[in-house]
Point group: C2
Chain length 167, copies 2
């Protein structure tokens, strides 16, 4: 029983800490709602196929993209498929960066998921677009885990689209 | 020069193979367009916080989710944050499964990205919802890498939303 009460107390303390930092973020940004994570879905078309099929280069560029946008790298794992294509993930303190390449189509599907305000996933997007020599790309930013200012709780709803563009 | 011609030939042969298998898929499904990947963005609310803060359990459930939906596991990496929260990824032959948990909020943001028709990411979604004891969840399925039947090329456009629901 003591443990239940203790755990509930710890849980509530944690919740208060999270909500409190979220409120600060809300106040700083003058927003009604704040989101725990930004998730960028990037589609890179017309890329250099030789780069997309080179696991060392793909891994290096993904790691560099994480560093470029100010993330802290925690772990990484990459895999080369036979006969072609690379899949890989960089886990960062602020969430993750993931990639799947189709060198035969010059296409890469990339996810850039960051939390907090330290990292800007757009910086990683611009960096990778350049490194892959992508001639055409699209960028969609989703807000995940939205906290409502009125209730000070997670708004239990699907993500929201914050921004989308093609170039 | 020979290498350039040879590489172009190989590239074209690869493209033809991909397009050819895509056409077969289109014909089988009687669809005008087919997508390379299905990407499910799942939000799990009101989960069991003790599970979301247990790296062994989160890893086990993510691996089991991959197996449940018929995926082949290639690599995995998981990380426990201090003081709480787990991030992790399972790379599968068919793409990846990723998770970030906020135990203090009972919330997990999960990505289930699969390619081909072998795996059904909805099976993984239902499995994880049950394992995390999530009382409320949402599911959005995106189509990524859309191939147009008329041009037999990648439609160079952002993803499309295939399905979305809250429960």
């Amino acid at each position: 029983m003591y443990n239940v009460v203790k755990n509930n107390f710890i849980k509530e303390a944690h919740e208060l800490a999270v909500i409190s930092s979220s409120i600060e973020a809300l106040e700083e940004q003058h927003l009604d709602r704040v989101n725990l994570g930004q998730h960028v879905l990037a589609e890179f078309f017309e890329c250099d196929s030789n780069i997309l099929n080179n696991i060392d280069k793909v891994e290096k560029f993904m790691v560099d993209a994480a560093l470029e946008c100010g993330a802290t790298i925690v772990q990484k794992c990459f895999h080369m498929f036979n006969p072609y294509g690379v899949s890989g993930v960089v886990i960062i303190s602020e969430s993750h960066l993931a990639i799947h390449t189709w060198p035969e189509l010059g296409y890469a599907a990339v996810d850039l998921f960051t939390c907090g305000t330290k990292c800007d996933p757009k910086v990683a997007y611009e960096f990778l677009k350049k490194m892959f020599n992508s001639k055409k790309a699209s960028f969609t930013e989703l807000k995940r885990g939205i906290i409502d200012r009125e209730t000070l709780k997670l708004a239990e709803q699907p993500f929201e689209v914050a921004e989308q563009f093609e170039e």
